[in-house]
């Protein structure tokens, strides 16, 4: 999208007869209002994260990561993402292969179901697992008898995160693979390649950038999920608090430097995610010859 808008903006400013006084005034009014609005709701909060985190100096910023509970929260977040992202990536690739490469009945319905987690409130996403595995839940007493902890423990956090980040990879790959078509894969099969070989050598290189972006976005959401994880985690400090939950605890204790220091890590992750997205779009526009 960026590639197209860039060329059209250049085209517009190059158009003759467009530089009247009125058009210049309108132009700067639009740019001014846009910048003012984005500065208030987008740029100011981002800047606030870093200025508050560094508010008591660089030393205090780095000291906040030495805290044992903060370290535990970072480790738990990395561990959760390490389970969730690969699972949702495998699901995304499978769903995209089945949906984009084949025509079958109920396809549109299946895609709507895959989108469901986007439409559901994160709190409801956590709630459903509490109703299944919580102490009064469907499997609650069975789990208690067998001494298995799901809610207020790691499995619950993993399940809630899986639910929330479920559609990301599939959503990124399905339109991309549909657009690329089946011709090259069919040619490879006709020439005797195996199915796996066709996927690895023909499909994968074509969808590489979309896959990377889907995985990175899924990862950013997995590490940053707050609502759903908050419902299932139980907020046991140093044990079941992920980074976003730890931010909440520190913030409510008025430990602002610590809270915003952890927040700054997640903000950097978001910035990296957007850089990868821009790289992907740049690659896509280069590939299509724009």
């Amino acid at each position: 999208m960026v590639g197209i808008t860039a060329s059209s903006a250049a085209e517009i400013s190059a158009r003759p007869g467009r530089r009247t006084v009125a058009s210049v005034v309108i132009r700067w009014a639009f740019i001014g209002v846009s910048l003012g609005f984005l500065a208030a709701v987008l740029l100011a909060p981002l800047a606030a994260v870093f200025t508050t985190a560094l508010g008591e100096g660089v030393a205090a910023y780095f000291r906040s990561f030495a805290d044992a509970d903060t370290g535990a929260a970072i480790r738990l977040t990395l561990f959760t993402a390490a389970i969730v992202v690969p699972l949702n990536t495998i699901f995304g690739i499978c769903a995209a292969w089945a949906i984009a490469k084949f025509e079958f009945r109920g396809k549109a319905f299946l895609m709507t179901l895959i989108d469901l987690p986007f439409a559901v409130s994160p709190i409801v996403s956590g709630l459903v697992y509490v109703l299944l595995f919580g102490a009064q839940g469907w499997f609650g007493s069975w789990l208690l008898e067998h001494n298995i902890e799901v809610i207020f423990a790691l499995p619950g956090i993993v399940l809630a995160t899986l639910f929330v980040t479920f559609p990301y990879v599939a959503r990124e790959l399905i339109p991309l693979m549909e657009q690329l078509g089946n011709d090259e894969e069919e040619a490879a099969m006709t020439l005797g390649a195996s199915g796996l070989m066709t996927f690895l050598r023909v499909t994968l290189p074509k969808i590489r950038w979309g896959l990377i972006y889907g995985v990175i976005l899924c990862n950013a959401r997995a590490m940053g999920e707050f609502g759903a994880v908050s419902v299932v985690s139980g907020h046991i400090r140093g044990l079941t608090t992920t980074m976003p939950l730890h931010i909440e605890i520190l913030y409510n204790e008025y430990a602002f430097v610590g809270a915003f220091a952890v927040a700054s890590l997640l903000t950097l992750l978001a910035v990296i995610t957007l850089i990868v997205k821009s790289l992907m779009e740049w690659q896509a526009s280069r590939a299509s010859g724009n």
Binding site: I4, T5, A6, S8, A9, I12, R15, V33, S34, F37, L38, V41, L42, A44, P45, L46, A48, V49, T52, I90, F91, C94, A95, W97, F102, E103, F104, T112, I114, A119, V120, S121, P122, I123, V124, L127, V128, V130, L131, L132, Q136, G137, W138, N182, M189, G195, L217, A220, G224, S230, V231, P244, A259, A263, L266, T267, A270, V271, T273, L274
Partner: protein, 279 residues
């Protein structure tokens, strides 16, 4: 496969569809079914008592009202931002364009505490609103600001492609024939982008209703006043009132389905609009 699917030389259909359906059922459908079944096990009286209690009604009003206002703000400013990004070239335009997606990538808890810091009484923006008696943080205005940030990318990203579809020849022709910029906007630009605006509005509205993380820090969370519906569910769970939580969760789930349906309808309409514009 008797008409279930069209034949293809490509392999792996059964395997990939099988795994995808299994994983979808285990992670998404089965847990959602548990919520529906839990609610179904309640009696009508109990259900109605929970979902129509004054506190629940107040939370719907806030969740819906703030989402609606935020989506309207985003429709106006999102259009202006999209127009600026598509039509004008200025230094930093590409970076600004990339940053529109920030609310998608930024964890909601981070946006929550950051917005509170900016809009609190001593914050960068809050201190200038304070003398006029405008309090943003810990009021419904704060909820609206948080939902505005969350919904912004939906509107901008919907409108951008549709602005590219506006036929510039028509604009030029209208201008040559003496049409004012306002007339051109009303008769040529607005009808072309209207479906995309509607689609962006619906997406932003739907997202706002369920939003939790970015709201609770700035909302103040006073019962009956600044308590959103998702927070009420969390409170019920903390009181181990599973039935109450399930009933409210069911209401929100039903709302999600209604919103999902409206989004599909609006987008189908938007696609027809795009096709018509191309002709």
């Amino acid at each position: 496969m008797n008409g279930f699917r069209q034949p293809s030389v490509l392999p792996g259909f059964g395997l990939t569809l099988g795994f995808a359906t299994f994983f979808l059922s285990a992670i998404v459908l089965l847990p959602l079914a548990a919520l529906v079944l839990k609610t179904a096990s309640m009696s009508w009286g109990d259900f109605l008592e929970v979902v129509s209690s004054p506190r629940a009604l107040a939370s719907y009003r806030l969740s819906f009202g703030a989402s609606l206002v935020a989506a309207l703000i985003n429709t106006v400013f999102g259009f202006i931002v999209a127009w600026t990004l598509v039509r004008y070239d200025f230094p930093g335009r590409k970076i600004l364009d990339a940053m529109i997606d920030m609310p998608f990538a930024l964890p909601t808890a981070v946006s929550g505490i950051a917005l509170t810091a900016v809009f609190a009484q001593n914050g960068w923006i809050g201190q200038y609103l304070e003398p006029y008696g405008i309090k943003v943080a810990y009021t419904w205005l704060g909820v609206t600001v948080a939902l505005t940030l969350i919904g912004l990318p939906f509107v901008v990203r919907s409108v951008q492609p549709s602005l590219l579809e506006v036929q510039r020849d028509l604009e030029d022709a209208a201008e040559t024939l003496g049409a004012t910029p306002l007339y051109i906007f009303r008769r040529i630009i607005f009808p072309t982008v209207l479906p995309a605006l509607a689609s962006g509005f619906t997406l932003a509205f739907a997202r706002g209703i369920g939003e939790y993380g970015s709201v609770i820090f700035i909302a103040g969370n006073l019962p009956m006043k600044t308590e959103i519906t998702p927070l009420l569910i969390v409170i019920k769970l903390e009181e181990f009132d599973y039935n109450g939580a399930a009933a409210l969760g069911f209401v929100m789930l039903a709302m999600s389905f209604v919103m999902l349906l409206s989004i599909n309808l609006v987008q189908a309409w938007a696609r027809r609009g795009m096709v018509a514009a191309r002709r």
